[in-house]
């Protein structure tokens, strides 16, 4: 089981901030493929990965990152702090 978190417009497109998933996905990219196949709102949110960033266990990483042992994956647009 893995917690999947969504922030900013990704959260708005998918319609929830967080969900718990039972997945065998080995990488972030494989998880994204699973999510895209679920429903149109996921396909829309993940239509352009270049517009997204991902963190695994609260560390920024990339879409090739492995998910073995990960507890939390978060998807969000590029950050705008400051």
């Amino acid at each position: 089981m893995i917690d999947v978190l969504y922030f900013a417009w990704v959260r708005e497109r998918i319609g929830l901030p967080k969900e718990r998933l039972d997945t065998g996905a080995e990488t972030v990219a494989a998880l994204v493929d699973e999510l895209r196949a679920r429903e149109e709102r996921y396909a829309m949110a993940f239509s352009d990965l270049s517009a997204l960033r991902v963190a695994v266990d609260q560390e920024l990483t990339d879409f090739d990152a492995p998910l073995a042992g990960a507890r939390e994956v978060a998807f969000f647009p590029p950050m705008t702090g400051g």
Binding site: A8, Q58, L60, A74, T80, G81, G82
Partner: protein, 152 residues
Amino acid sequence: MSEEAGIRIVVQEAPFDFGAEADAFAAGRNDMGAVVTFTGVVRDVSGGLDGMEIEHYPGMTEKALAKIAAEAQARWSLGEVLVIHRHGKLAPGERIMMVATASPHRKDAFEAAEYLMDYLKSRAPFWKKESAGGAQSWVAAKDEDEAALRRW
């Protein structure tokens, strides 16, 4: 809030007292010849901004800011480092955030403050949503913010 090795990170919804924070920062250190402070303010570019809402990623935000601060400390000769960043609803003119650096030398204090700002703009998990005339829109990240990281 985390406090380790002269690093203080504060992520909060409430406003902060810039004067009190600046006064307290590096107080009692007589080996720090330079203190640089920077404050970010909600700017109304078009004249029609009603306000802004800042979303963040609780847990990751504090970690990301502490990491950026630790990297600055490793890179320059620094004493204290302070980062305060707000989230939630803010009105035009309100202070969003503040960075302070203390160093024996002015160049280190200035450069470290700029480094902190450049990194926290695009590596700390905050997202801004502006409200203007009843419409809301997410602020897009700027290419130049990403480009700014390359100089370090």
